[in-house]
């Protein structure tokens, strides 16, 4: 009995219980970027239609089609922006038809399961319902997961400001991750789309991140390397971001940009709201860290 209790004590003592979390030193990376290399462009801007679904198809096809990114039997996590209790017309969340088309393409490419989720800012039930995304993807067979406390696990990212933080597990426990943000104005970080969208994988008190918002965005983009980024710029919020709230705050732009480079696509997107990429500091940080190339004009791209 003494021996048993000694072993039990040795197991439980001083190591965070049975959960053996130890610092590993280096910045952690979740790399889902496993597409087959090819001569295709790094990003593709689709602007030749007013139908969001067609725009998504054309942009993804220009990068070689969804089959290049999703393999048969994959579990695909799709991360739209479902942050706010707003309707599609307010353009604060990703357009539901864009998300639905990505889900459809993923299933078509042979995905076993497609998970659509986000850790919302406002009350999740309202965000998921009123964004229209829940209804749009449910009919296609996607698994919609609403965030709740038990789905967050402490993880180490070893970033400059983000070290250990609760991470939303459905978005990292997948074979492939597709980031489907919406391009919009943000008062503090100036512009938000692909890189800033990773705020939605964090739990805990995210409000502290704003004290160093650019470095924390760069940390997150370092940690999360998605399989594919599809930026919804069908309707863009130009002011009062990131929530908007007034129909007049947003303008139809009818663009969808598919990209392998988070930084380049954000640099391009910033120009849509009239922002210079150099003024968006997290783009510079991402560029310096080698996450991508903010010189978006000199990155291989096509317009379709």
């Amino acid at each position: 009995m003494l021996g048993g209790s000694t072993i039990a004590t040795a197991l439980l003592y001083e190591r965070g219980g049975l959960e053996l979390t130890r610092p590993t030193g280096e910045r952690q990376v979740r790399d889902f970027n496993s597409h087959t290399p090819g001569p295709a462009p790094v990003y593709a801007i689709a602007k030749s239609s007013t139908d969001p679904a067609v725009l998504v198809q054309r942009a993804v096809d220009a990068l070689g089609g969804m089959k290049r990114f999703v393999s048969r039997g994959d579990i695909v996590a799709i991360k739209p922006n479902i942050g706010w209790d707003r309707m599609p017309v307010h353009a604060a969340n990703t357009n539901p038809r864009v998300v639905a088309e990505v889900v459809r393409l993923a299933f078509e490419a042979g995905a076993k399961q497609v998970v659509v989720t986000d850790a919302s800012c406002n009350e999740p039930n309202r965000c998921f319902q009123r964004s229209g995304i829940w209804r749009a993807v449910y009919g296609l067979g996607a698994t919609v997961i609403l965030p709740s406390a038990h789905r967050f696990r402490e993880m180490r990212m070893r970033g400059d400001v983000l070290d250990q933080w609760p991470v939303y597990t459905p978005l990292v426990n997948a074979d492939k991750v597709i980031n489907v943000p919406v391009a919009k104005h943000h008062n503090l970080s100036k512009y938000t789309a692909a890189m800033k969208n990773w705020y939605g994988i964090l739990g805990g008190r995210r409000n502290r991140l704003h004290q160093n918002i650019d470095v924390s965005i760069a940390d997150l983009a370092t940690f999360m390397r998605p399989t594919l980024t599809i930026v919804d710029a069908t309707r863009v919020l130009l002011r009062n971001g990131p929530q908007g709230g007034n129909i007049d705050d947003a303008r139809d732009m009818n663009q969808v940009i598919a990209s392998l480079d988070q930084v380049a696509v954000d640099a391009y997107g910033a120009t849509l709201i009239g922002e210079k990429p150099e003024r968006v500091r997290y783009l510079k940080l991402g560029h310096e860290r080698g996450i991508g190339n903010m010189d978006f004009m000199n990155v291989a791209h096509v317009e379709v």
Binding site: E19, M87, P124, N125, Y138, S148, N207, H210
Partner: protein
Amino acid sequence: MASGHGHSHSGHEAEFPSPLPWLAQKGVVLALDAAARPLAPAPDEPRAVNPPAALIPLSRVLDSARKAKASRGADGASSKAAGTSGAAAEPGSAPLRAEGEAKQSASKAPPKKKSGPKRPGSGIPARPIIRTLVWVRRAAQVFFFGLFFWFLCATAFRGTFSARFDQPVRLPLPVEAFLLADPFVGAMTLLSTHSVYRGLAWSLGILTLTLVFGRVFCGWICPFGTLHHFFGWIFPSRYLRGGRRVEANKTHGWQAAKYYMMWGFLGAAVAGSAIGGLLDPICVAVRAIGLGVLPALQYFGIRTTTAAATTNLRSLQMATDGAQDTLSQTLWTANQSYFNQTWFILFSLVAILFMNRIIPRFWCRALCPLGAFLGVVSRFSLFGMEKDHAKCTDCNLCLVHCQGADSPQGGVKHREDECHMCLNCEAACPEDVIKFRFLPNLRSAVKTPNLERRTLLATGAAGAVAVPALRVANWPDKAYSEKVIRPPGAVEEREFLERCIRCAECMKVCPNNALHPAFFEAGIEGLWTPILIPRIGYCEFSCVLCGQVCPTGAIQKIDEKQKMGVGQKPVSMGTAMYDHGRCLPWAMATPCIVCEEFCPTSPKAIWAEEVEVPKRDSKYTQKGEQAAMLMIKVQRPHVEPSLCVGCGACEKVCPIVDKPAVYVTNAGETRSKTNVILLENTRYGQT
């Protein structure tokens, strides 16, 4: 037991003159019982003749021993419990019983041949309709409690995949139905506001039911009553057996307390306060279960599943994920609910449930103002009890199973105003004494509460006087407490107090856990009225669910356009204020403005000015020199009071957790004509 009965008889000497006429008849029955069990004296034997004083204790002991057997399972599992004890008392006495029944039939009792469980005494089974109705009543209790619990759990917004994005967010079920059907709530708000708010007309249904059947609501429908019924049955109390249970179930004088309290609350309603909701049973049930029991269960649920999830067993983790998702979609919501100061609400519930160990259904008998209200109404009921005192053997089985403590036993008048119409007494009676029927002979019934007129007037007046007494100390116009931030759509404070019954529906439904029962923030009178505590949760900009579930209109049923101010002035609950000494950009030269990001209005009520501010470097760069001064850019937040709706999102997300740098007070709330900040919002010509 005859002795135990003596004092009840004494009050009615005139009507039932001694010697009691049924004693002789009982003697016959007892002789047969005695023959069946020659070794032990028949339990009723001591009562065959008037026992000498010295024998009384013995008879009491024998009786209570028998009662203990009979009363095991004190719900009124009457027929079953009584049946088994009967079988134990008279093994193989079928022919004797038949003989006994023959004698009974000679004395005008309908002969009943039934092969059901054997019963004590003469063993005359209750009418089949009654035995059926007892089970119907139990089914109704289970059904209505289930319905109540279902509605309570459904008092939370859960999104659905099937809803279109532009579909207004409303609850699919009429979750406040029990409150709408509550005639006491209806009467109180009628007296305080001189009008009946929308759905409260449903309470006429319960009123009509009471006019026909008496207090069936208490015995058959009331979920809180069912809870007490259940606990009175399940609590295994060694104390509450046999004679003690019989004593506890006799009518007591203190049962009048609920009537006095009810009149006091109605007096308070006349004076303009719906404070009676503090003790309305449906309000108590919603409040205590919704704000106390469910969050406590959730705590244990989350604790258990979290413990299971940290085992690092993949299958177990998946299972707990599934379990948590299911629970958060059915019983509770995704995040742990927290309610300010609920310990007192929960403690009161536990205390009142515990009372069932000492006096069954103490709440229903002594405190419930709704029961009292229905008790007053039930004097006009068409349905009631008739007793054939001559047949009563004082076996007290009716008392063992009685719920309302309404004197079902022979020899005393039945108290119709106390009776819950549970029908246990008739089902338990082995002597064919008790009969429930329409238009009963009222010779042996009392229909009105036994009240002192003076005390009654005094309590009613006390209730009416209490309200100004409380308000003088806390006048809504004079002593603003900055913490009393009322829910969106709440009416002006005085009218609010006329309407708010503290039912906690709004707090339960709030998706962000923003509404809380006030403790003494709103004065003593404002106990358990809803207040917004933005630090815990903020008011979701486009959400109007609290108004949807409010049964009395204290929170009006506004729609999204009214609340958000589409083409009109938005509903404002207060105004955000900055504490520059705690705000990061203001005091600490640190970028932040999460408050601005979360501000839901357009244009945002919080705007930021970009300034360059000096900041001392936090480390030395040169040896032997002072730390360098840096110039950094920060955005300093400001509030535009004409746009602020007081939702508290800024306060909720402020990274300074303990005492936020931005906080909402009720200044400038649209419902008030006096608590106004801006000149442009002043309404002239109004007080």
